[in-house]
């Protein structure tokens, strides 16, 4: 984009026509402030939401700490130490300042700071989700392209059915069926957990991702065992993202296939595969990148159920364990964290869009 076009676009795109032109620097600054402010406000509201969810909880956190047998005096002390006698707004302020100081509370289940717990379990989920998205995008995108090109033919209907099934299948059940068939009946793949019990704690955890850790340590046995364990949960989790990605790819492709440039390319005499991959597909790459980024975030949702089925020592299992235990500190931090990741991925996909698609730049 040249300098000459910039003021024009910024002026027409975001501001009402005013009497005096505002210098671009201020405009950009204002935009940036609004952008950052909007995100900050959303995160603040999200924290407020989780805080209030935490406070409507019928169970009493003070009672949780002192136990059933504590006398009245101890109970009252803990109650006041936690600030539960204060007005709810004051409590919220306290919660915010604690968060700002990096104090996220202690998990009742493990007795460690919640943030340490999460840092420990998160890599396993990232490992799983990353493999899943590779699977989902790697299969979903070609499927979507094939479906769009053969719109209305049997293969399109087949892809549609596969994708609809992906939307409709209970992911935890699919996981159990996978275990039943590939682990229980055929014995091709590893069962629940990251590795066989035999290999537990054999490699030093550096990244927390076992595949990478075992490679670093050069323990190929552990690595291949870990592979046999991760294939099933990753494909199960990836299936749901594949369903969505293939569907979106199809509709993006359809929107492009009838455009004039595609017709021109065909008229020029290019082969159909060249038209599709060199011309049409190039134009949907940007949209695809944003979709994949957003899907990555929603994998966290499926991960909660999949990790439960496969006893995967990740974030989802940590969350469900705490849910059953009723530890609001841990739950609320988990929810806030997922929210922040989600918001972050949204911003990232927006930014990617801007970077790759010059038309959206202001």
């Amino acid at each position: 984009m040249t300098e000459a076009t910039k003021p024009l676009r910024a002026g027409t795109g975001t501001m009402r026509p005013g009497p005096s032109p505002i210098p671009i620097v201020y405009l950009k600054l204002w935009q940036a402030t609004k952008f950052v402010g909007g995100i900050a406000l959303t995160i603040l509201c999200l924290m407020a939401l989780t805080f209030f969810i935490g406070r409507v909880m019928p169970s009493d956190p003070a009672l949780h700490i002192v136990g059933q047998d504590a006398d009245q005096e101890t109970y009252r002390m803990v109650y006041e130490r936690l600030g539960l006698d204060q007005p709810i707004i004051v409590q919220f302020w306290r919660y915010l300042t604690q968060l700002a100081h990096g104090d996220f509370g202690v998990a009742l289940l493990t007795g460690r700071p919640v943030i340490d717990d999460i840092a420990r379990v998160f890599p396993a989920t990232v490992e799983l989700a990353t493999l899943s998205i590779i699977f989902g995008a790697g299969i979903g995108i070609p499927l979507g392209v094939v479906a769009a090109v053969n719109k209305g033919k049997w293969i399109d209907h087949l892809v549609r059915l596969v994708s609809l099934t992906g939307h409709s299948i209970p992911i935890f059940w699919l996981g159990m069926m996978g275990l039943l068939v590939f682990y229980g009946m055929l014995g091709w793949l590893g069962g629940p957990g990251e590795v066989d019990v035999f290999y537990n704690d054999m490699v030093e955890r550096r990244t927390g991702m076992l595949l990478i850790d075992s490679l670093i340590a050069g323990e190929m046995d552990v690595f291949w065992n870990a592979v046999s364990h991760i294939v099933l949960p990753a494909s199960v989790l990836g299936y749901s993202s594949m369903a969505y990605i293939s569907r979106m790819t199809r509709s993006f492709m359809l929107a492009q296939l009838n455009q004039e440039y595609a017709v021109t390319a065909r008229v020029k005499g290019l082969s159909e595969s060249k038209v599709i991959w060199r011309h049409v597909f190039r134009n949907i790459r940007v949209q695809l990148v944003t979709i994949v980024a957003l899907t990555y975030g929603s994998l966290l949702e499926g991960a909660v159920l999949v990790e439960k089925v496969f006893a995967w020592p990740g974030f989802g299992q940590y969350l469900t364990n705490n849910l059953l235990f009723g530890d609001m500190n841990a739950i609320m931090l988990c929810v806030t964290l997922v929210g922040i990741i989600f918001i972050g991925l949204n911003i990232l996909s927006d930014a990617l869009y801007r970077v790759f698609d010059p038309r959206t730049r202001t």
């Binding site: 509201c45 999200l46 909880m57 209970p170 059940w173 159990m176």
Partner: protein, 301 residues
């Protein structure tokens, strides 16, 4: 409608009757489309079957869904127990039949709560714009900033496990997409000429919204609600599976897969059957909703 038309004959009556006949033609073509889309018709058939099974569960089931019969535990499918028996000797087929009631209960309750709330928030937000819109959409955005299941889990954790609380939690997280949709539709309608005409006639905002805006966006909302039903079923089953939704011995399908998990490797039918039921029903809602969208929203294709 007809009452008003008879009051004010002439110019106004003409478009009204034209509108209703156009409506009839639309419904007619919708029906034809529907029959031409076998998958959507299949989805509808399964949904009707679900309603039928739920309504007549005591006659369709072959056994009592709750009574235990430990002597007959973990039996594979047979003539006596069509889908086998679970770890407490209960007939899985009968439990699935009764489970349809739980599923239908959750789906209809959530939809009845979520539809009007989402519609109201979206329409008000889209129609008035400005500060109202900013505040309502900020709230909607917060709910949308966390994946649905995770937020539902947080609500269930706060409210405590149980079927009723699961319904509340799902409803609390299911309205924002509806509100978003209704808002988008409203903003398109708001600038239409006929709204300006009604405004100039002096109609109140409430009247415009209820009489002119809501009827226009209700179709898309219904489609979205139908598609949402599949998600609701999956979420409810997921909650049941995690032990946070319906509690045993309720014959809820998610709970059944969860309790059967322990015995899964040696007794495949315990988990397979209720899971198939969930898949079938949620797939049907998706097929039906998809077909509905193709008919009602021609912009898509």
């Amino acid at each position: 409608m007809t009452h008003q038309a008879s009051q004010r004959p002439g110019a106004l009556a003409q478009p009204r009757s034209a509108k209703s006949s156009a409506m009839l033609a639309r419904i007619g073509s919708a029906l034809r489309h529907f029959l031409g889309n076998p998958l959507a018709a299949l989805g509808l058939a399964v949904i009707l079957l679900l309603v039928f099974v739920a309504a007549f569960a005591p006659w369709i089931a072959t056994h009592d869904p709750i009574t235990q019969n430990l002597g007959n535990a973990l039996k594979p499918p047979s003539a006596a127990n069509w889908f086998g028996t679970d770890e407490l000797g209960r007939d899985i087929y009968s439990r699935i039949v009764y489970g349809s009631r739980v599923t239908l209960y959750i789906v209809s309750l959530v939809t009845v709560v979520v539809g009007p709330i989402g519609l109201a928030v979206g329409v008000v937000s889209g129609y008035f714009g400005g500060l109202t819109d900013a505040i309502l959409m900020r709230i909607t955005d917060i709910f949308l900033s966390v994946p649905g299941l995770v937020l539902t889990l947080a609500f269930v954790a706060a409210l405590g496990p149980g079927l009723g609380n699961a319904v509340i939690a799902i409803a609390l997280t299911a309205w924002p997409p509806i509100a978003r949709l209704a808002r988008a539709e409203t903003m398109m309608i708001r600038s239409a000429d006929y709204i300006a005409a009604v405004q100039l006639q002096g109609a109140s905002s409430l009247r415009i919204i209820t009489r002119h805006v809501v009827p226009m966006c209700i179709l898309s909302v219904i489609v979205r609600l139908t598609l949402n039903m599949a998600t609701i079923i999956l979420t409810a089953a997921g909650l049941g599976f995690l032990g946070l939704g319906a509690q045993p011995p309720t014959p809820e399908w998610g709970v059944m897969t969860s309790t059967g998990r322990e015995y899964m490797l040696d007794h495949w039918w315990l988990v397979t059957m209720p899971g198939l039921a969930i898949l079938l029903v949620s797939l049907s809602f998706n097929l039906f909703g998809d077909g509905l969208r193709d008919i009602l929203d021609p912009r898509n294709e």
